[in-house]
């Protein structure tokens, strides 16, 4: 189960314009394992959508290697371009479902016909196509809307239909391109949970592109962070969340950013000698640290702010504490925390 289902190697995408070239994706290498839910996060214009579109060649790269499902879709490492044939690409695309921000359903077809349209080139007979369409609608909980037109459904419902359509040909990969960005928080969570359910039930590999860290936190196992066309960091979400020191990543995760603004808003009358942010998973807390800090190092720790977030059903704690004591003891205390596998970030007050 550790086989790589998607492999991107040094992929570049350039858009030549009249007076300049936009380098949308720069030397990105990425592999995604079968059965994974892989998140790609970044601000608008970071190139995440462009990058992921190279997987099914909706976007042709300028160079690099794109290998999906063990087949080489695109290769250009020495200036010589090798493409998969148009017919083969068409067939392979049926193994890669995709859903979009604006759903992109066909308005002039009923919900059921939208799904049947995806099955037009399958080996199924007309009756089997109808049955399969209904089956898929059942999976996404919209069986009773089979004869409705997309415009009669809500945004969340339309996205469910789009998911059913993307799953029509039993793909092995599902790409979600900002699929929850146009939805309200409740629908967003429902769609994300549906993606997770599909991932578990059908063993589908999901690639989730989003600018919302909350979506990643909810369902992804692994994550890649992109900024201005470059891949900044990738890895297990827990590791990234707890241990990443990259400023862009931290900004996305939000914690340290929050900490500073909280600190500023508190307007503490007496400033503690040091302010640190502690991040830890439930596995890391074996001992009562605040007590230990006082007992072992004689420093007084005061909890300013505390928060727990759930990542893949595992709690992650964030504490902002003020420490009072002499510099030497504080140093030792922080070292102790480090050794206890707690991530320590010193917060310098900013205005």
């Amino acid at each position: 189960m550790t086989e790589n289902i998607i492999e991107l190697d040094k992929v570049n995408v350039k858009f030549p314009l009249k007076d300049k070239t936009i380098h949308a994706v720069k030397d990105v290498s990425l592999s995604i394992k079968k059965g994974d839910i892989f998140g790609v996060v970044g601000y608008s214009g970071a190139g995440k959508s462009t990058l992921v579109r190279t997987i099914n060649l909706l976007q042709k790269p300028s160079s690099g290697i794109v290998k999906v499902l063990g087949k080489e879709f695109y290769k250009n490492v020495d200036g010589k371009e090798k493409n998969i044939s148009v017919g083969d690409l068409r067939k392979e695309r049926r193994n890669i479902g995709m859903i979009f921000q604006h759903f992109n359903l066909l308005n002039e077809r009923t919900v059921q016909d939208n799904i049947a349209f995806a099955l037009k080139h399958s080996k199924l007979k007309e009756k089997e196509i109808i049955n399969k369409s209904i089956e898929l609608l059942d999976l996404v909980g919209l069986k009773e809307f089979a004869k409705s037109y997309p415009a009669q459904l809500s945004g969340g419902q339309q996205q469910r239909v789009a998911i059913a359509r993307a799953l029509a040909n039993d793909p092995e990969i599902l790409i979600s391109d900002e699929a929850t960005s146009a939805l309200d928080p409740e629908n967003t969570n429902q769609i994300l949970d549906l993606l997770k359910k599909i991932n578990q039930k059908l063993g589908l590999t999901v690639v989730l592109i989003t600018h919302e860290m909350d979506a990643i936190k909810r369902i992804c196992n692994n994550v890649a962070i992109m900024d201005s066309g470059e891949l900044i960091e990738k890895g297990n979400i827990m590791d990234i969340f707890v241990h990443s020191t990259n400023p862009v990543t931290r900004k996305f995760i939000g914690n340290s950013f929050d900490a500073i603004s909280i600190l500023n808003s508190l307007n503490l009358s007496k400033k503690p000698d040091a302010i640190v942010q502690l991040t830890y998973t439930s596995d890391d807390i074996g001992s009562p640290i605040i007590v230990e800090l006082y007992k072992q190092f004689g420093v007084k720790a005061n909890i300013i702010y505390s928060n727990i977030e759930v990542l893949q059903d595992k709690p992650i704690g964030t504490n902002l504490i003020g420490i009072d004591g002499n510099q030497d003891s504080i140093k030792k205390a922080l070292n102790y925390l480090h050794e206890s596998n707690i991530k320590v970030t010193e917060i310098k007050e900013e205005q």
């Binding site: 099914n56 909706l58 068409r90 067939k91 392979e92 695309r93 049926r94 890669i96 479902g97 995709m98 979009f100 604006h102 992109n104 359903l105 066909l106 308005n107 002039e108 077809r109 349209f117 995806a118 037009k120 080139h121 037109y149 997309p150 415009a151 009669q152 789009a162 359509r165 993307a166 029509a168 040909n169 790409i175």
Partner: protein, 234 residues
């Protein structure tokens, strides 16, 4: 009523219902010309309109050369005033139908007169289809044929009916001019038997008949366009 009509519309009555110059004949001629040139011009316009979208830089098969050829042909025929096109195309008409005059001969310039107009309208209608829908269809492995007829044409069908209505109405306008090459029709009646003979009652009735025809087409077109549109909640 009948006497009132005979007193006030003597020339209309004199033309009669049947016969070469009769009203039935000119109505049929107008319908005949409109129908067949709509079929030929429509098919031609649809092909050219689809080509303009498909081979466009943002189309599904970008091809500068084909696009430019198609684009220039459409622009060329659109630039020729219809009354001149009638004469300009006469040798080709002769080659195609064996004569340069008459109702059937008029079909050739009518089709060529209307197709570039229709092609442009089809182009605009098809371009109104969101590129996201095309992309979504490509992502499920749709063929180009699926994309053209299953997505572009099908999604734009209400808009296509709307532009077809507009085109059909302007085609009726063109048939009036076809009288110049002896094609008959209501336009010819209004000019030759009405205006030229100072029979303003004939001009009036011919005009009214054309107006009624246009209104009927507009009503049917509007009804169909509404019926075929599911992109809004209703």
């Amino acid at each position: 009523m009948k006497e009132w009509f005979i007193t006030h519309f003597p020339n209309v009555v004199q033309l009669g219902w049947t016969g070469d110059t009769g009203w039935a004949n000119s109505i049929v001629q107008t319908l005949f010309m409109t129908f067949w040139s709509a079929i030929f011009g429509g098919i031609l316009g649809l092909i050219f309109g689809i080509a303009l979208v498909v081979f466009d830089d943002n189309g599904i098969l970008p091809n500068k050369i084909i696009f430019n050829i198609v684009d220039k042909i459409v622009s060329f025929f659109r630039a020729i005033p219809f009354i001149i096109l009638l004469a300009f195309i006469a040798p080709f008409t002769q080659f195609l139908v064996g004569t340069q005059i008459g109702t059937t001969a008029a079909l050739v310039p009518l089709a060529f007169g209307v197709f570039p107009f229709y092609a442009r309208q089809v182009q605009v209608a098809l371009e109104s289809v969101d590129s996201g829908k095309i992309e979504a269809a490509q992502s499920i492995g749709a063929t180009n044929w699926d994309l053209i007829f299953g997505v572009y044409v099908k999604e734009a069908r209400s808009e296509l009916v709307r532009v077809s209505t507009v085109t059909l109405i302007s085609l009726i306008g063109l048939t009036a001019m076809a009288g110049a090459i002896g094609a008959g029709g209501l336009g010819n009646t209004a000019i030759s038997y009405g205006y030229n003979r100072f029979a303003s009652d004939t001009t009036l009735v011919a005009t009214l008949l054309v107006v009624i025809l246009v209104i009927i087409i507009q009503l049917i077109g509007d009804f169909l366009a509404r019926k075929l549109n599911h992109s809004i909640k209703k």
